[in-house]
């Protein structure tokens, strides 16, 4: 299949199941890019995620970067539009209805049922990136330290990312 059509189709589908945001579909992007399509290896995927975290903007731009890596400008455009388009259309039409079912049992049940899945997927993303970074015990320690600092302070993540780059250069991670 044409690679652009493939990107549009796959990312478009992800858009509609991205409960919990772009972080929640990272595992599926990984499966797609590394395991089924062989667009890149595990380490490259982890690098692209690292770059996307170090770039200001919505997490969704990881799709832009994957698209760019696979097929240049047209790939970047296709992946971004496909990841953001379908969900944007959906919420555009759903906004009014959501207000209407405010406070109903239905809304509570849907929310309570989807939330744990979204959380599991975000945690899965973290595990997959940890595995992809694959730098041994130093890297695991750095990941664990980041979790502790991020949970216990309101430090701008940029400082942590900078520290990660320096520690990486120093050969610790």
């Amino acid at each position: 299949m044409n690679v652009l059509a493939d990107i549009v189709l796959q990312f478009g589908m992800l858009s509609l199941v991205a409960f919990g945001g772009a972080g929640a579909v990272l595992p599926e992007m990984h499966r797609l890019a590394v395991e089924t399509r062989h667009w890149m290896d595990d380490a490259t995927f982890a690098h692209l995620v690292a770059i996307s975290q170090a770039t200001p903007g919505p997490n969704a731009i990881i799709a832009t970067l994957i698209g760019w890596h696979v097929a240049g400008w047209s790939g970047a455009l296709a992946a971004t539009a496909a990841l953001c388009g379908p969900s944007s259309l959906l919420i555009f039409f759903f906004m009014g209805l959501w207000e209407k079912i405010r406070g109903t049992r239905w809304r509570l049940v849907i929310q309570a049922g989807i939330a744990p899945l979204a959380i599991g997927l975000v945690l899965a993303s973290g595990c997959i990136i940890t595995r992809g970074a694959d730098g041994g015990w130093g890297a695991y320690a750095l990941t664990a330290a980041t979790v502790l600092v991020a949970l216990n302070s309101r430090l701008n993540p940029l400082w942590l990312i900078g520290a990660g780059a320096l520690l990486g250069l120093a050969g610790i991670a």
């Binding site: 969900s87 049922g113 997959i128």
Partner: protein, 183 residues
């Protein structure tokens, strides 16, 4: 009746542009500050309600937010303008970085640096997941579903669509039986 001031197309575009460029690793907390505290586009309650919707609906949360806020002030064209404002600058930036990576990514120093950044990125994502999970402790049984989807995705490598459509009905059924009793 509440007086709602007008927010123009160009204000929406540049507003979301600023929001996008001011945050790293997700920008929702910046969005709140900019829209509620600095610009007064939304009241705090309006923000919280919209945020709930944007979190619940599929798609990147802040992207959803830009669509909601844009369409609220200027209809469909406002939604498009806000979305473009949010995405254009970060997309160009990340393509520039992607091009640099393509050029220099193989250098050992760059590889080492990115390994460090990737470890931190993983930590930031895990921390976000844990913070989200804290809300779940009032419904501890539901944590089983978090664990199940994590295992299926990370260790069994099952496709997300199958996993999602397999687990969501069960998860909603349990939520309905255990935690959202019919009145």
């Amino acid at each position: 009746m509440e007086q709602r001031h007008e927010v123009s197309h160009s204000e929406l575009f540049w507003g979301f542009c600023r929001i996008a460029l001011s945050g790293f690793g997700g920008v929702m907390s910046w969005a709140r500050r900019a829209m509620v505290e600095e610009r007064g586009w939304l009241s705090s309650e309006e923000f919280t309600s919209l945020f709930g919707l944007c979190q619940f609906m599929p798609g990147p949360n802040i992207v959803n937010m830009s669509v909601c806020v844009g369409s609220r002030f200027q209809g469909a064209s406002g939604a498009v303008v806000s979305l473009l404002g949010l995405l254009s600058a970060p997309c160009l930036l990340i393509i520039a970085l992607g091009a640099l990576y393509g050029r220099f990514g193989a250098l050992p120093a760059v590889q080492a640096m990115l390994r460090g950044v990737a470890s931190v990125a993983a930590g930031l994502i895990l921390a976000m997941g844990l913070r989200m999970a804290a809300d779940l402790f009032k419904r501890p049984l539901m944590l089983i579903f978090s664990a199940a989807i994590l295992g299926e995705v990370v260790f069994l490598h099952w496709p997300l669509l199958a996993v999602m459509f397999g687990l969501a009905p069960v998860s909603m059924w349990v939520a309905a039986r255990r935690y959202c009793k019919a009145p």
